[in-house]
């Protein structure tokens, strides 16, 4: 399994009480598999992405990323593992205002310490793969919402991740653009053999063949149907 969450629990203080966000939540995604996670607002979807993305620690349970047990890793080791093995696509594209589209992608290689000729070529290929060859040298302010999210997807793929996590990647887009972006994300993840978790409200936008899970009461439950098979 490229991503494995085993009986993960996360709780936060809530006044004098404790609010349990994830309660023994478990999920395993093998390479090349795309899984969609749905749930009501406040059900803990983003917390689950944060846990899987090594952005926050768990109170109990186990988190395994690309074969490495990350549960008790120190902060610096978690950061390194995230940089090497995890790609993140955010709800809003989270692009840097001063960087062009291709520089947003190259930045990942620079952070990894290997921004060389090969990395630049790969960044160009990824920008091409998401259909933005003609916008490679454009800054976010001049890009449409859909184009920005495409840049975000290219950036998430730059470090050849074993795990791709997308947190509501189409929430800021209209339905047509949302379907387009979701299709691109799933296609790229499958073609690159990446274990992918997509958190979404819009199950209608999911392409065919995506397994669905539902987060309820802090637990991951099997979804009602495989997206695209029945609605």
């Amino acid at each position: 399994m490229n991503l494995e969450l085993d009986a993960v629990s996360v709780a936060v203080p809530d006044g004098d009480d404790t609010l349990t966000i994830l309660d023994q939540a478990s999920l395993a995604i093998p390479a090349g598999e795309v899984v969609a996670l749905t749930g009501a607002s406040g059900s803990g979807k983003s917390t689950l992405v944060a846990v899987a993305g090594l952005l926050r620690a768990v109170d109990s349970g186990r988190v395994v990323v690309a074969g490495t047990d990350a549960t008790d890793l120190k902060r610096s080791a978690r950061t390194r593992l995230r940089g090497e093995s995890i790609g993140l696509v955010f709800q809003s594209p989270n692009l840097f205002g001063s960087l062009t589209a291709i520089e947003q992608v190259e930045l990942v290689a620079h952070i990894g310490g290997h921004l060389d000729r090969h990395a630049r070529r790969r960044a160009a290929e990824l920008i091409d793969a998401v259909g933005l060859n003609h916008r490679a040298n454009t800054r976010p302010a001049q890009l449409s919402g859909g184009e920005r999210q495409r840049v975000g997807i290219a950036r998430a793929l730059m470090n050849r991740p074993a795990v791709l996590l997308a947190d509501e990647p189409t929430a800021a887009l209209d339905d047509a653009k949302g379907r387009e972006i979701m299709a691109l994300l799933v296609a790229e993840a499958r073609s690159r053999d990446i274990a992918t978790l997509v958190v979404t409200h819009n199950v209608d936008q999911l392409p065919a063949g995506v397994d669905r899970f539902h987060l309820e009461s802090g637990r991951v439950e099997p979804g009602s149907a495989r997206a695209g098979s029945t609605v």
């Binding site: 952005l55 950061t79 989270n94 001063s98 990942v108």
Partner: protein, 368 residues
């Protein structure tokens, strides 16, 4: 500095604003440094130019020639020690301030150094030969530019003694007036009149090696004098201590203000960048990476703005006429610029420290 360079380029208006402020502070500190150095030159260049290392004054004179009066008895142990074979030269030196009138009625102020023509203090070349001849004055070169010439006569106000100008020697001033040389006898006549009894202000000493320097306290004790280094004697120049303290204080305040401005700007800048920093960390950037980026950006702004400000100050310094005491040397300019940069960096440590505390999870929020 992948991101920092591009931020600098894209947000150049914002960085230019703080750069202008830092540049203005650099301009002011450099100008002040030039004024301070100019005042120092005006106060002590005539003493600094003398080939002496130490001065023996009357005990309790507090660095001041005007409070020091020595006699031939004080000089004797020094003369004996100098004849003893160590690398030591001594000479009596009289220092006093005078005002003189030219034949046309103009007035000239000068600090008169009286010393024997054969002493190591006497001006080199024609000046030394002139002092050995009939009584007269050898003036600093600056006074030549005020229209005075060799052969002109000056009447010294007070003793009302008229002396010819024998020549001109190296430039310099002491206590903000130009210097002049005379033989020790002429100096004694002007200061004490007929009751001089061989008195003078201080023993000028040139100690050529460590052995000579270590012998000074013993000679001091025998001579009943108090020896100090030439640098310590600068404090005796009228107004010197107060001027340098004032200039240092103003420069210090400017540097602190600059550090606060830089700190305030980078604190606000860092707060605005919080989400961006979180995003960098979410993408796998270590604290070291983010710190390098932030510090590099800070250093570029500080160094560029400080260099620009200092260069403008140097340009202004070139345009300043001789009416204002102003002197810019590479050393003080570089050290004040370096201090500005270092204090700016130190002032921004709080802002920079914040960089390390940003959590990557904030990247899951809205746009950076």
């Amino acid at each position: 500095m992948f991101l920092a360079w591009r931020d600098l380029r894209v947000a150049r208006g914002r960085f230019a604003l703080v750069g202008v402020v830092i540049g203005l502070v650099a301009l002011l500190t450099t100008l002040l440094s030039g004024l301070a150095a100019g005042l120092v030159d005006d106060g002590i260049s005539g003493l600094r130019g003398l080939p002496l290392t130490h001065l023996a004054l009357q005990p309790g004179a507090q660095h001041s020639f005007s409070r020091s009066s020595l006699t031939p008895e004080n000089l004797e142990p020094w003369t004996q020690a100098a004849a003893g074979g160590t690398d030591l030269e001594v000479a009596p030196l009289g220092v006093a301030f005078f005002n003189a009138r030219t034949a046309s009625g103009d007035t000239v102020d000068f600090a008169l150094y009286g010393t024997p023509p054969d002493s190591f203090l006497a001006p080199e070349g024609a000046g030394r030969a002139a002092l050995a001849g009939p009584p007269g004055l050898v003036l600093s070169e600056e006074l030549a530019s005020s229209g005075l010439a060799v052969g002109d006569e000056l009447t010294v106000v007070g003793p009302d003694v008229t002396l010819p100008i024998l020549g001109f020697t190296f430039g310099g001033s002491y206590g903000h007036v130009d210097i002049a040389f005379s033989s020790l006898e002429v100096w004694q006549e002007l200061v004490y009149g007929p009751s001089a009894k061989g008195r003078f202000s201080a023993v000028a000493i040139r100690a050529g090696d460590n052995e000579a320097i270590t012998s000074l306290p013993a000679i001091d004790q025998a001579a009943g004098t108090a020896t100090e280094t030439r640098d310590q004697a600068y404090a005796g120049s009228p107004g010197y201590a107060a001027e340098t303290a004032t200039m240092s204080l103003i420069t210090g305040f400017l540097l602190v203000i600059s550090a606060l401005i830089v700190a305030a700007f980078f604190t606000v800048w860092t707060i605005q960048r919080t989400r961006q920093i979180g995003l960098l960390k979410a993408l796998g950037a270590s604290n070291a990476y983010v710190l390098r980026d932030a510090l590099g950006q800070l250093a570029v702004v500080l160094v560029a703005a400080t260099a620009a400000g200092a260069l403008v100050a140097v340009g202004i310094g070139k345009l300043v006429g001789s009416g204002v005491p102003f002197s810019l040397q590479a050393g003080p300019v570089l050290s004040s610029a370096a201090t500005l940069v270092i204090l700016g960096m130190v002032g921004s440590l709080v802002a920079i420290r914040r960089v390390t505390t940003v959590e990557p999870i904030i990247a899951l929020g809205a746009d950076s």
